[in-house]
Amino acid sequence: MSRIGYRRLVAVALVAGIGLTGAACSSSSDKKDDTGSKATSSTSSVGTPLDPKTKVTISVDCEPPTTKKAERQQWVDDVAEFNKTYPNVTINSKDAFPCEDPAKFTAQLQAGSETDAFYSYMTDLQQVLDAGQAADITDYVNEKTVPNLADIDPGVLNVLKDGGKLYGLPTSNYQMGLIYNRKIFKDAGLNPDQPPTTWDEVRQDAKVIQDKLGSKGINGYMDNSGGNQGGWHLVSEMYGVGSKAVSDDGQKAAFNNDETKSVLSTLHDMRWTDKSLPATPGLQWGDVQKAMGTGKIGMYVGAPDDIPLVVQQYKAKFEDLGMAPIPGGKTSLFGGNDYMFKKSASPDQIKAGIAWINFKYLTLEKGQFNYPRNKTDGLPVGLPQPFFFTGASKAKDTETKTANATVPVENFKSYVDAQVPVLPEPPNAQKIYTVLDTVMSGVLTNKGADISKLLSTAETQVNSLLAASQ
């Protein structure tokens, strides 16, 4: 081969390499599927349940990791039981903890590499739609495919709708409240059966705890200021005192008002005047839960699903934990989790995914509602969550849950009895939370924080983000 010919060969190889690389990096998301899913074509209408003879493979994420032995085994057992009805459906489970890491989730959506049925937060809908990744399941979901559909709270389903079309099925939900440590309350001379219900009472009780137990390294209250948790908590707290995060049409910020300022002023006073908050606020998810689980704080704003976490991970005791309604009690932020279905999935894959979600998460006495099994496996039964069933389903669920309760349900009585009206998370919630993190960090880390200025700047930023999302 001549030198010139050789150079040509190298040039051709390079050009081919560039082409291949470009192709490999192509962002045409609809072609990508790392799960190896395959399916036969659908032979029936989308509105009918999956034909048990259909041979189809689906990938599903959020299988509990092996470190959560009981939950993992339950998943495996449930797949086996599901396969008794649908022997030709192969569920390709992908384990994960936590089920959603927002940055990874965003990258997966951009690459189109999420599973056929993928776990998401209820706040994720707009992001998934913007990425063009959610299948419209309106025609797939009815009382034949999801028999308890009529008893699912319409408010919950509405969160998963856009333009009247349904894009997901709920698996759990919560409403925010005040988690408190009954033992610390007792040790500080407070009545654990009368938790605070307003911010003034929260401040008073936090100060009592601080004065009595501060020398032991116990703080009265704790809050977050980072990792979107600060913003999430602030929105929960402003809901509690009657403020909203955004206007009803979702176009403008609506939090720069006296109600929000009153919450922030109280937090600022608790941190800098009473010193009933720790010097280091929670920067990321898990910080306040750890503090509660290790008995270092008296109270924090949270959701009921934190309680098993602080017990299992940080060895707290169920009987030491209680829950009260969100301070203020005007409205409570509700949110939760759901599964959506990949837009490029075939009709049979979507049907199989819906059948699995229905079996695992929406059928009484099966899957997550198999309370006798949860009791045997040492998982908590009796926590006030999920809250999405109404009517006959709710009544039956409450009955079975109470009969098998393993946690002291009376510790959550004030939270359950309060019946605080719920409000969904604002549109573009995660973006708003990011901005409001700054407000919380200002109040919790700066003694001279100018609350009005913090809120005004955040308002401008949120308005800009909302305008960009239109």
Partner: protein, 317 residues
């Protein structure tokens, strides 16, 4: 006879194998070169493909994305809309101010400290090798381990630094939890974790300074500071200049330390750098077009410094 016959046969067989049909001495040499070059270029192509895939392609995509917007899975061209949006972000100048602040602190602390340490190491007569290893050890520590260590040191309630301050009856600090001290705390941690590499480079430069210059300075009665000012700094000027520019380029892209130590934003956005803001736009706001547009702004600024670096390194050759 036997001794001469064998090499002849060997030569013939060798020649016959390599020349091939129509082959000659010149072609034999060329074929060998081709084979050798093929291997070399094989390696080269692999490296080039990696660069294409992980460096150049993302850069080109980023440039294109900065003029695009994706909604409902449909990508459209939006001209300068993304650039305009990020420019008018209320935190745009905050991020630049923080980045400049980080760079400034990194120059004062991260540039000066390794140079001083290198001078001290160079002056030592005993245990120099041992101390060199000690200085370099933190570089080998995984960044996350270093960050966790400093998070513990900085904790206002039970951290080591406040413990020391209390012991000395000095006022304690909020360190990472105050907007006044968060950035400097990040720089101190970052400097500790990365100064080993810079120190070794300065040390190598110092050891190249001819000893006669110091002897001459001694004869002139120069003191330590005078020797540093009149001999050490002029002799290492080129290395110092290059390291300075490299450090400016590197510190302006700061992300890891602020992300791990302060969650990215820090108290009241006091540690939000431009690169963290890019991350925020992409992975928190899910707005890749604006993230790319912000990246373009950064690229323009860094291009200036990179041009200076290229010019300086050409002069140093």
């Amino acid at each position: 006879m036997a001794a001469t016959t064998v090499p002849e046969n060997t030569t013939k067989r060798h020649a016959g194998r390599t020349s091939g049909p129509g082959g000659g001495a010149a072609r034999t040499g060329l074929s060998r070169k081709v084979r050798q070059n093929l291997q070399a270029h094989g390696f080269l192509i692999g490296a080039l493909l990696c660069f294409l895939m992980f460096s150049w392609y993302p850069m080109i995509r980023e440039f294109i994305m900065s003029f695009q917007e994706t909604k409902r899975g449909t990508t459209s061209w939006v001209g300068f809309k993304n650039l305009n949006r990020v420019y008018h972000d209320p935190y745009f100048w905050t991020a630049w101010k923080n980045t400049a602040e980080f760079t400034l602190y990194a120059l004062v602390i991260g540039f000066l400290v390794p140079f001083v340490v290198a001078i001290v190491l160079n002056e030592l007569r005993h245990a120099r090798a041992y101390l060199r290893v000690l200085v370099y050890l933190p570089v080998m520590l995984p960044p996350v381990a270093g960050v966790l260590l400093f998070k513990y040191f900085y904790n206002p309630d039970y951290g080591l630094f406040n413990h020391i301050l209390k012991t000395l009856h000095l006022p304690t600090s909020q360190w990472l939890d105050s907007s006044h001290t968060a950035m400097i705390s990040v720089v101190i941690a970052a400097t500790w974790m990365s100064m080993g590499g810079a120190t070794l480079i300065y040390l190598a430069a110092l050891q190249n300074i001819p000893g006669e210059l110091y002897e001459a300075a001694d004869l002139d009665g120069a003191g330590l500071l005078s020797k540093i000012w009149h001999v050490t700094i002029p002799q290492t000027r080129m290395v110092l200049s290059l390291m300075l520019l490299l450090q400016i380029v590197a510190t302006m892209q700061e992300f890891t330390n602020v992300f791990l130590l302060t969650g990215g934003n820090g108290p009241e956005n006091s540690t939000m750098t431009v690169v963290y803001m890019v991350y925020q736009y992409a992975f928190r706001y899910n707005n890749f077009g604006s993230a790319a547009a912000l990246g373009l702004f950064l690229l323009l600024v860094l291009a200036v410094f990179s041009g200076l670096y290229t010019r300086l390194s050409r002069n140093s050759d």
